[in-house]
């Protein structure tokens, strides 16, 4: 679907913002069923704009990048729910084929993930006030329940504001990228992205392994995939 033919109704935008709230809440606040993973949120973004396959391509790249981050303690990590949703929607909205749009969507998604992280940090600080003073909340448990639920809704609001603020700019960036001519250096751009995926893979693999002795398995998995590809290529 060319950019010029993109026509989505207000219902789609409302669904996108509502999904932003759900994905914003899911990662930490409620219910942590992992719809906030970029693989899922980008697929939903693509689906809302008519091309879930395009969304999942973006989501797969973002997922490989996100795998090395674990929410341990007070760690800071990209907020990939709203970011994946926006980037999946951006790539699907621009047709889901142009490599320039794919590169732009992935970069926008990753950048938005880090912006989201800043908003998560602000929310964590805000929650300190939401739960104060502790003595008053303990004396009135109903107030504690109210404040706790308020904090969850604020997280949802955070996700929806992120999506509402960045969806249109992200789609515009992807559309501009899709409309530019594809040069030989564009191919080099894809190669650079692929090497980035390789680096993210190695880093994520270490987070999932116990020590450094697992690297032969990583290579073995790559070898199996090469054999599969060779077996299915014409």
């Amino acid at each position: 679907m060319p950019w010029s033919e993109l026509a989505v109704g207000p219902g789609t935008w409302m669904l996108l913002v509502a999904a932003g709230a759900a994905f914003g809440m899911d990662a930490v606040s409620w219910p942590q069923v992992m719809i906030s993973r970029p693989l899922i949120s980008a697929t939903v973004g693509g689906w809302l704009f008519g091309d879930p396959e395009a969304g999942m391509v973006v989501g797969a790249v973002l997922e490989i990048y996100a795998l090395r981050h674990a929410p341990l303690g007070a760690a800071r990590y990209p907020d990939t729910g709203p970011a994946g949703l926006v980037s999946g929607a951006a790539f699907a909205a621009t047709g889901g084929h142009a490599m320039g749009a794919l590169l732009a969507s992935v970069v926008v998604g990753w950048a938005l993930g880090w912006i989201g992280m800043v908003t998560v940090h602000v929310r964590r600080r805000l929650n300190e006030r939401v739960l104060s003073p502790a003595a008053d909340l303990a004396a009135d448990p109903g107030l504690l329940e109210h404040r706790h639920r308020l904090a969850i809704w604020l997280d949802g609001l955070r996700g929806s504001v992120l999506v509402a603020s960045f969806a249109v700019p992200a789609i515009l960036v992807a559309a501009v990228a899709a409309s530019l001519d594809w040069t030989s250096l564009g191919g080099v751009g894809v190669l650079v992205l692929t090497l980035g995926v390789a680096a993210a893979t190695g880093s994520a693999a270490r987070a999932s392994s116990f020590g450094v002795r697992g690297w032969p398995l990583l290579v073995a998995g790559a070898a199996v995939a090469v054999l599969l590809i060779a077996g299915t290529s014409p």
């Binding site: 606040s29 939401v130 894809v190």
Partner: protein, 250 residues
């Protein structure tokens, strides 16, 4: 004594245990929020002791969110058993470490990547996006629900004696077997994804050299994961710039 309906409400609230997560009390507010349906029953008609219990459990606490269900249930049990507050506080402190370590190693480091990679590999091998996403959500959340429910039920049953349940638990035994599979799938997923990207937009004939270079980069990032992560981010930013500059200079 909390009724079964109180325990179900508390179990359900455990899904929102991190709802008010903050740097001061971490998940403490969520623990108290989760325990409230049971605490109200335990201290029915005694608002002073209820307030004291709520304040006790609003204090700083941390743990893996799924295994916090065990803390919610076990702490409610010790309140029900009339254990003195000093012991409750020591018990809370003792729970923090194991609940975090077991959950982080089992769920975040193994179970979640395993389910995600199954879904990614399925998609890259030709399964539809909706089916691949559904497989991830169903598979992952089946384990998620089992862990949360097991943690809550065992926490309530064991009370102060939950320690042995966490030490060398079945969760760790099960997920410890996943890491070789995760590494295999991660290596495979990277090659499948890279091939898909390269075939869509890179100059022909570069697949083999790129594969070799990609393996070197991945192994270097495996050896030096922090630097590898930074390199991945830098390459991600560089990719569209290379292409854009090429377009401008054409």
């Amino acid at each position: 004594m909390p009724l079964p309906s109180d325990r179900i409400k508390a179990w359900w609230r455990c899904f929102a245990v991190q709802g008010s997560w903050n740097y001061r009390t971490l998940v403490g507010g969520g623990i108290a929020f989760g325990m409230l349906p049971m605490l109200r029953r335990i201290y029915a008609g005694d608002p002073v002791r209820l307030a004291e219990a709520v304040q006790r459990h609003m204090r700083s606490f941390n743990g893996h969110p799924y295994l916090c269900a065990m803390a919610v249930a076990a702490l409610a049990r010790v309140e029900q058993d009339g254990i003195e507050p000093e012991t409750v506080e020591r018990f809370r402190t003792a729970l923090r470490g194991p609940l975090g370590t077991v959950g982080d190693r089992a769920v975040w480091a193994q179970w979640r990547p395993a389910c995600l990679l199954i879904s990614v590999v399925m998609f890259l091998l030709g399964a539809g996006p909706i089916a691949s996403a559904a497989v991830f959500l169903l598979l992952y959340n089946s384990g998620h629900l089992v862990v949360r429910t097991w943690a809550f039920v065992k926490g309530w049953e064991a009370g102060l004696a939950v320690g042995p349940l966490l030490k060398d638990s079945w969760i760790e035994h099960f997920t410890r077997r996943l890491w070789p599979l995760n590494l295999l799938m991660l290596g495979g997923a990277a090659v499948l994804l890279g091939t898909r990207l390269v075939r869509a937009g890179a100059p022909a004939g570069l697949e083999a050299p790129l594969l070799g270079l990609g393996v070197v980069v991945a192994l270097w990032a495996f050896r030096f994961p922090k630097q590898g992560g930074r390199l991945a981010g830098a390459l991600l930013l560089l990719a569209p710039m290379v292409w854009w500059i090429g377009d401008l200079t054409r």
